[in-house]
């Protein structure tokens, strides 16, 4: 398979785990227009194998809508896993602020990946589409303004 075919194959799993990690629906993630670019970026930096294995571990049990069970599954099988945990946390940051962070050196030593891994923003719109800003009821600084004087109104997000 070509890299594009491999990644098309991984896309549903990538969206599913991204939704659980970020707390945003697959629909919202799709709406950023970044999905394919982020999957390609992550695969390029950590290698397809690591991504495929993580998605395999994620979908190994059929959990359905049980959020508590999903949370436990994520902690046990993904977030605390030496290979998948750092990758999962990197994906959260990629979705939230549009920045891919270089994986830790010990991770690369253990699991390979791209020697040219580096901090970068895959595209200018990766920054403006960051989920952090809607999460806190703000606009990405320098984009998507709310309009003159809207800052005088009470915030639209509230503390849980």
């Amino acid at each position: 398979m070509t890299p594009e075919q491999t990644q098309a194959d991984l896309l549903p799993g990538f969206l599913a785990i991204s939704s659980v990690l970020t707390g945003f629906s697959e629909h919202a993630l799709r709406g950023t227009g970044q999905t394919e670019l982020y999957l390609a970026t992550a695969c390029e930096m950590v290698g397809d194998d690591s991504m495929r294995m993580m998605l395999g571990a994620f979908s190994a049990c059929d959990i359905g809508d049980d959020t508590e069970a999903m949370g436990r599954h994520m902690r046990l099988c993904i977030l605390s896993h030496a290979r998948f945990g750092p990758l999962a946390r990197n994906l959260i940051k990629l979705w939230y602020i549009g920045t891919w962070h270089c994986m830790p050196r010990d991770w690369h030593e253990a699991f390979g990946g791209n020697p040219a891994d580096r901090d970068h923003i895959p595209s200018p719109t990766s920054y403006t589409e960051g989920l952090l800003w809607p999460a806190i009821g703000a606009n990405p600084p320098g984009a998507k303004p709310f309009g003159y004087g809207m800052w005088a109104n009470p915030p639209r997000v509230t503390r849980a």
Binding site: V20, L21, T22, G23, T67, G71, M74, R75, L79, A88, R89, I92, K93, Y96, I97, T99, D119, H120, I121, S123, P124, T125, Y127, T128, L132, W133, A135, I136, G137, A138, N139, P141, G142, A143, P145, F146, G147, Y148, G149, M150, W151, A152, N153, P154, P155, R156, V157, T158, R159, A160
Partner: protein, 631 residues
Amino acid sequence: MNGTEPFKIPPEAAFATTYDVAIVGSGVSGALIAKTLGALGLKVLVVEAGPGEDVTIGEYTKSVERFYSAVSKDNNAPYAHSRNAPMPRDYDAVKLRDSQPNDRGYLVQNGPFEIDSTYSRVLGGTTRHWEAKALRMLPDDFRMQSAFGRGRDWPVTYDALAPDYGRAERELGVSGNVEDQRYGGLTFEDGYVYPMKRMPPSFLDKTMAKDLDGFEVKVGEQTFALNVRSTPQARNGIPNPAYDGGKGFTPTGAVSIHQAEMGGRCQGNTNCVPICPVQAKYDARRTLLAAMDTGNVHLLARTVAFRVEVDGTTGRVTGITCKTYADKDAPGHVTGMLQARIFVLAANAVENARLMLASDLHGSSKLMGRNLMDHAYLLTWGLMPQVVGTGRGPLCTSGIEDIRTGNYRQHHAAVRFSIHNDGWGWATGAPYTDLAELVDARNLTGAALRRGLIDRVGRQLLLDCMIEVLPEETNRISVDPRHLDQLGNPRPVVSFHIPDYTLETAAFSRRLTRQIYQRLGAEDHTRYDPLAPGWVSHDGEGFTLRGGNHWAGTHIMGTEARTSVVDATQKSWDHGNLYLAGAGSMPSIGTANTTLTLAALCLRTADAIAAELSPGLATASVSTHCQEIPA
């Protein structure tokens, strides 16, 4: 001439022309002088070290996208690095070790204080990243020595400068409310209103004001009542129909040589520093384009002034040797000489002094480069009891101004506070650092992460304490032949320490902000890292102080050649046809961002130059051996 030609004057044509006035620097100082003189029919050349780009929306958008794509969003992030006209970057300020200078960036840091201030070498200068706060200095700031026995008096009073402040507020397009500016002896002409109505105070401002307004504070022997007041700023808002005796005001929006319809009003992009994507914030390109429209002003970009040439007998400037480069990074340049009847250095307080010192012109007072000032910023930060919507609106819409002056200035420095709508970013790198902490240390994901972010970021309040620094001769810019840039120009060497007079106010400000957080019921999260650059200690307490990018004082203004560098019109005492313009002339900086005041000074300078070169003589002044300036 049509719209584009003045931006493309060939270097050989510029060097072959004798202009009425040659100005080094396309920032706000140079632009205001060029526009004023061009409008009077004088032939003016403006020289810019950086690329002369960004005069179309398309080019400007490249800067916005460069900012989006920059992992490190420092205040020069929108602008491409150039090896031929390098810029200081805040991240180059690192802790000095064993008293060794730090030369990793363009500025060579000699210490002892590690200053993280920067400036921009691009068309429009540092107004390309300024925040656009446009406070006037207070009457007391102009008479520090006579009122408080500290610092220096200006040769100009507030009352004398007040009409020029009004002109500057028009040129820059200031939104503000005069009623909010009645404190500390500030006066305005009867019936004066700012060109545009004040920026609406943020929800955070209003939340703070509820519990803070009327808070009585004793400073020295005086008691002050604190109030949250709107901050005047050069950002387009709603024009005030009462402006100019009822004539109103028309804001200038985005700069473009093509038609562009944006920037007429702030939209709340929350990115005043470094770049407003719609150009609602003033930057000096607006004034430059108006200068070009006079048909009498040329721009020569990618040209770095190398040496001011002086007649040894008369002291008059005979020319300025410049190096023009083609590629921003590749070595190679051509050398030429600027020729004019009058020369103006308007390259900012650091670069003006650097150029003069590199030309072995120390001034008869020996004060060139000395008396360097900048504001010292003490940052304090906390979490409000309720979500206040951090991250919305212009970076600051209000501040606390009531203690900007008082008799306490006999003993310690003045201070004002800004309320930040953009959260803790300046202090901690928020909200990026908050995200990292919640994900990496608190192991939050999914919905819990979203809730955690609202709680952690949505309640953030940052109060910056802008503290006065007085002129001291040991604080200085110098040059050293061991530190050259790619063009062979000496780089600026900064020697700076924070005087006790300022440190005392840092300690006072920390105490007062603690009380403010206590009154608001806010969690005070302020902490200072002794390993960070800018760490200082005073009376057993340590703080990190940050620079304000308000470089000033290096060609200080005064009443005589023995004790100052320029006169009240910014004219050099030593060189009869040379003006040094900008904040470098200021004998004090009080607690106001320097741009509005230096703009007022430069409008006076333009008047002085115009009086010297009457427009009636201007046409004949273009010497016959050079080509005609295209009209």
